[in-house]
């Protein structure tokens, strides 16, 4: 199958969200690309799509999906893939991605069993069966889009219990196998890595979350990596009277990138080279200049590594 390669390496972009639609089009700051959530532009017309086309005229676009449900045992939604293919044809993005997660599945409601979509990024086990399903679904997407797709590692708040005697993959082994079997690229979300490591630390499973993340990155083949994501997170501590187990770090994309994540990112740049990097901010979105400042920081790290 002829699949176009991912775009050139390096560069920094920001997540382009509604509060910054107009300001960014007017100012046109120096950025290598804009990232948007694919599903927000599935409409066949209207204001949002018109804005995206204006943005596309000035910038390269990275289409990042949140709803393909690549890890679903019930398979992909043909309608969803059709919408994505149409948007890709229309926008001609630099890169296209989604997550190693599931959302579609069977639910037994009052009116019987039906296929629903949870509209969230739900974790999948790192089992052989899940890998087979993920590979088949990613392959189907690549064949439809006729391009190399990217799959992102998840921040997961639930851990699946191994169900068979077979050895389970670690997450980076699982994703590396996915890349090897399908030829897809990996979108490495450094903040997700750190959030998972912090939660593992809270559960008492490891002592040094940064060191854990560096080892995780060292298990990934550099040529497999197509894009890196950076974002902020928050630590939700239990209040008085709550269960001490209710201590959790959430990937809320609602603050600046923390020092530890910058440290892990620096390691990623040293290992992978200057991979295109995105600043994500989706909650309590600040002034555009704050995102541009984060982008400048990422560019400095890339420059120091060039």
């Amino acid at each position: 199958m002829p699949i176009a390669q991912c775009a050139s390496r390096g560069g920094v972009g920001i997540g382009w969200r509604q509060p910054h639609y107009a300001e960014l089009l007017v100012r046109q700051p120096e950025l290598n690309f804009l990232e948007v959530h694919s599903e927000n532009f599935f409409a066949h017309g209207g204001a949002a799509l018109a804005v995206l086309e204006r943005g596309r005229a000035a910038y390269d676009i990275s289409l990042h999906g949140v709803g393909l449900s690549l890890g679903s045992a019930v398979g992909l939604d043909a309608w969803h893939l059709d919408q994505l293919a149409r948007l890709v044809d229309r926008i001609d993005p630099l890169r296209v991605s989604d997550h190693a997660s599931f959302a579609r599945g069977q639910w037994l409601g009052a009116s019987g069993s039906r296929t629903i979509h949870a509209a969230d990024l739900l974790p999948i086990p790192f089992s052989a069966e899940a890998l087979d399903v993920l590979c088949a679904n990613v392959q189907r997407v690549q064949e439809r889009l006729q391009r190399r797709f990217m799959v992102e590692n998840l921040s997961a708040y639930v851990q699946w219990r191994p169900q068979t005697d077979e050895p389970q993959h670690s997450e980076n082994e699982f994703l590396s196998s996915l890349a090897k079997r399908t030829g897809c690229a990996l979108l490495v979300d450094v903040n997700n890595l750190y959030v998972n490591a912090r939660n593992a630390q809270i559960r008492g499973e490891l002592t040094d979350p940064v060191a854990h993340c560096l080892i995780w990155l060292d298990g990934i083949t550099p040529t497999d990596v197509g894009e890196i994501h950076l974002a902020g997170h928050c630590h939700m501590r239990p209040t008085d009277g709550e269960n001490p187990q209710d201590d959790i770090v959430i990937d809320d994309h609602g603050s600046r990138v923390c020092a530890e994540v910058w440290q892990i990112y620096k390691h990623a740049m040293q290992r992978f080279g200057t991979v295109p990097t995105l600043i994500e901010w989706d909650t309590d979105i600040p002034a555009l200049d704050v995102l541009l400042d984060e982008a400048r920081h990422a560019r400095l790290v890339q420059g120091a590594n060039a």
């Binding site: 927000n40 066949h44 209207g46 204001a47 949002a48 799509l49 045992a73 069966e129 169900q163 201590d247």
Partner: protein, 262 residues
């Protein structure tokens, strides 16, 4: 059923069964740390998303119900009719019927029709774009209307109600109807028909008189302009005078009428 399918079904039950105690017990077969906050995070994500998605599509309904009641409505709808596709903008089509069937909202029977109007507006906002073909309007002078069909604006829809639904929406959405006038229309039990369409990128609403209601209903049913004008003349007999030329001019000017074809 495969193990992966069982795991995923157990997770979806935790998110959509309500109450979820049984589902949380069941998923303990498949996960570790089930008592932790993780499952609650996913449940909470769903409730926040439900509220935001429906607030975006139904802003006036949300305004009328108030934050607490609207959150409760969104949560109940989330657990009764979960999304079926990965574009959350598509979720909420069932809310008007859900509102009409809600025991708690029986004292406000007009809310279902208001919700139907807001969903029509939401659909208009994302409907496929269409261009105006000004040159085609010359056909109006050269052909009998019975030989002509028209193309209406994206998202064009008619919402008929036994309540003054267009006034209710306008009073809250853009304050274009004073509340005194709205109160009088409710007291008079004025039925209203609302027209929804998108002019350029901007969704619009206005009240239709009986003649226009008949005309638009015929055009939306893909009848010829001639048949629609006949329907309008009949409708006008019930109310005011009908002026075809004025209506066509206004329809073109307001972006409602995009083109004519023979």
């Amino acid at each position: 059923m495969s193990m992966l399918a069982k795991q995923q079904q157990a997770m979806l039950a935790v998110l959509f069964d309500w109450p979820s105690h049984s589902a949380i017990k069941k998923i303990a077969n498949y996960t570790v740390n089930t008592g932790s906050r993780g499952l609650k995070i996913y449940q909470s994500n769903g409730h926040v998303l439900a509220q935001r998605a429906l607030q975006a599509a139904y802003p006036v309904l949300a305004q009328l119900l108030g934050a607490e009641s609207f959150d409760a409505l969104a949560r109940a709808h989330w657990h009764t009719e979960p999304p079926t596709c990965g574009d959350v903008a598509e979720w909420g089509v069932g809310l008007p019927a859900f509102v009409r069937g809600s025991a708690q909202l029986q004292d406000e029977p007009y809310l279902g029709d208001l919700a139907a109007l807001e969903w029509a507006l939401h659909c208009a906002s994302i409907a496929a774009d269409a261009e105006v073909d000004a040159a085609s309007f010359a056909l109006l002078a050269a052909h009998d209307p019975a030989e002509l069909h028209v193309q209406l604006a994206p998202g064009c829809a008619v919402v008929a109600s036994v309540w003054p639904v267009a006034s209710l929406w306008a009073a809250h959405a853009d304050q274009s109807v004073p509340f005194d006038a709205l109160r009088q229309r409710f007291q008079a039990q004025s039925a209203e028909v609302a027209l929804v369409w998108r002019a350029g990128l901007r969704p619009q609403v206005r009240h239709l008189d009986p003649a226009e209601h008949a005309l638009l209903t015929a055009l939306l049913a893909n009848q010829t302009l001639g048949a629609a004008l006949d329907a309008a003349s009949h409708g006008a007999a019930l109310a005011t005078q009908w002026d075809t030329h004025s209506w066509l001019a206004q329809a073109v000017q307001s972006g409602l009428l995009l083109s004519v074809r023979a």
